[in-house]
């Protein structure tokens, strides 16, 4: 498996704040990777570095290129939807399609047209006349028609209702993802993407605190809903996080065998959100 992204010791400071503090990670071809982190963890900076939109220290190769120096060549094979990269509001839909068709060598117009036909978007509307959901659909229509190797999504569904969000990811998974393309996504709505992801990257204070495939995550981490009277015994095995909820005690274990935990309560795979909180607490300690 080839690595599409290789970052080693990626760093970037804004004044005295270290937005990225030596992040090291790889993203392999054909993976759907979730880059998860709290606000200010360095997610956006990392994505901007990958897209050649900001300076960085350390080593970074995207599709074998230096993204900062070779942004426009890179953009032939890399696409992104970012909440901050809004479509030009003055532009008409047909102008946008026309221009992309003539400036992007890997854009296949018929795919875009097909996709647009299934929406309520009118060709002669200006972007500013479209609803938030339609704008995202339009952007998705453009992206889907570009034969890219890497798609970067930064909070792509921000401000959309739950139906739209679900539709967005369904389309992405069913129509875009083909096993060869690679997607790197950040979002706060972790629950909505966790079934989509093949890999997890947790970022906290500019560092990668977890870099694992979902398979590895489910075999390494366990969630235990402990019986109250066995909680102390479970606690002795060193959970990385513990919380109380609805009269029950939830614990997350890292690398403890299931057989040893089974007597103390119900075992399961932790949700990405729970795991994330657990890892962050562990990091703080």
């Amino acid at each position: 498996m080839t690595d599409l992204i290789e970052a080693r010791g990626l760093a970037r400071s804004f004044g005295s704040t270290r937005a990225l503090d030596g992040a090291t990670f790889r993203v392999g071809e054909g993976r759907i990777v979730g880059l998860i982190g709290p606000n200010g963890a360095g997610k956006t900076t990392a994505l901007k570095a990958i897209l050649g939109l900001c300076r960085y220290e350390g080593e970074l190769k995207v599709l074998g290129r230096d993204p900062f120096k070779e942004r426009h060549q890179l953009m032939q094979e890399v696409c992104f939807i970012a909440d901050v990269a809004v479509l030009p509001r003055w532009m008409r839909v047909d102008q946008l399609v026309e221009l992309t068709a003539h400036t992007h060598p890997r854009f296949r117009r018929e795919i875009c047209e097909d996709f647009l036909k299934r929406t309520d978007i009118k060709r002669n509307s200006r972007v500013r006349q479209l609803s938030k959901g339609m704008i995202t659909q339009l952007h998705l229509a453009l992206i889907m028609a570009i034969d890219a190797r890497l798609l970067v999504l930064d909070e792509p569904t921000l401000g959309l209702d739950i139906l739209m969000r679900k539709q967005f990811y369904d389309t992405l998974l069913n129509e875009y993802f083909d096993g060869h393309r690679t997607i790197l996504v950040t979002t706060h709505q972790v629950e909505e993407v966790q079934n989509l992801l093949t890999d997890l990257l947790f970022i906290h204070r500019g560092r990668i605190v977890l870099d694992a495939s979902m398979d590895a995550v489910s075999s390494r981490f366990l969630h235990l809903e402990a019986k109250p009277d066995r909680a102390d015994e479970a606690r002795a095995l060193g959970p990385i996080a513990e919380r109380k909820g609805l009269g029950r005690i939830h614990m997350i274990f890292d690398g403890v065998e299931a057989a040893r935990l089974a007597p103390f309560g119900e075992l399961g795979t932790p949700s990405v959100a729970d795991l994330f909180v657990a890892m962050l607490q562990g990091d703080r300690a």
Partner: protein
Amino acid sequence: MNTLTWLIRREIWEHRAIWMVPAAILVLLLAASVTGHIALGPLNLMEFEAGQRQLEGIPAEERGLAVAVVMAVIIGFFLAVMSFVGTFYALDALYADRRDRSVLFWKSMPVSDLETVLSKLLTAAVVIPLVGLLAGFLGFLVIATGVSVKLGLAGGSASLFWMPGTMLQVLATMTGLVFTYMLWLLPVIAWLMLASAWAPRAPFLWASLPVFAAGTLENLAFGSERVFELAGYRLMGAPERLFTGPGGDWRTLAEGEIFTRVFGLLASPDMWLGWVAAAGLIAATIWVRRYREESI
């Protein structure tokens, strides 16, 4: 090359003033021409009878001159309007997409910053003046048609005003002059575009304040006005050197003299120095466009 053409088309889509302003003026001209409210100064056509006698009474040579002057005035008017459109365009060209936050979308396209900046420079230095020339010529045709119809209705010769040879000659000469002037203005356009790429907001102030500040400081410190003189020369130097100076002003220029002056200007060190400055400013603009990180 194809990409560049489409990028220029994009500029015209976005900055609709480039064609809407001259189109609006043309419509007004047409309306005024139909209702007969057009006054042609040099021919005094408000007093139509007199104008007609005037036009018929004068020999073809002088009539040619009259046609040329009317044409130059009308095209000149459109060019003056387009110079405002062009100034605002250059100041907005690399600022508008940062203001509406679509810049990152544009940067998601496989288009280099060199191509982007070049497409905007060509729009300012070639497309906008061309639109001015074309619209001016159309404006002249509107008025010429109006005059001809009136002449015809009054029983005169409707063709008096139609001198295709003169018209083509004037159009060609003006095109040459305009682009000579644009070549002279390249550093000014580049400066405006740099301000447009750089300014966090209000690119107009970023373009003008440094010049005013430097000029004022110089004046306070040394009592001289070199900065203002330089700025004035870079703005108006070309027309000054083409239309005034030894050998007479534009009214008395000998035939062919204007071409000698154009070639003289194109070959002058000042013109070339301007290009060197423009190249530096354009390089800086591309650099800023590329490396300026938009705050989020």
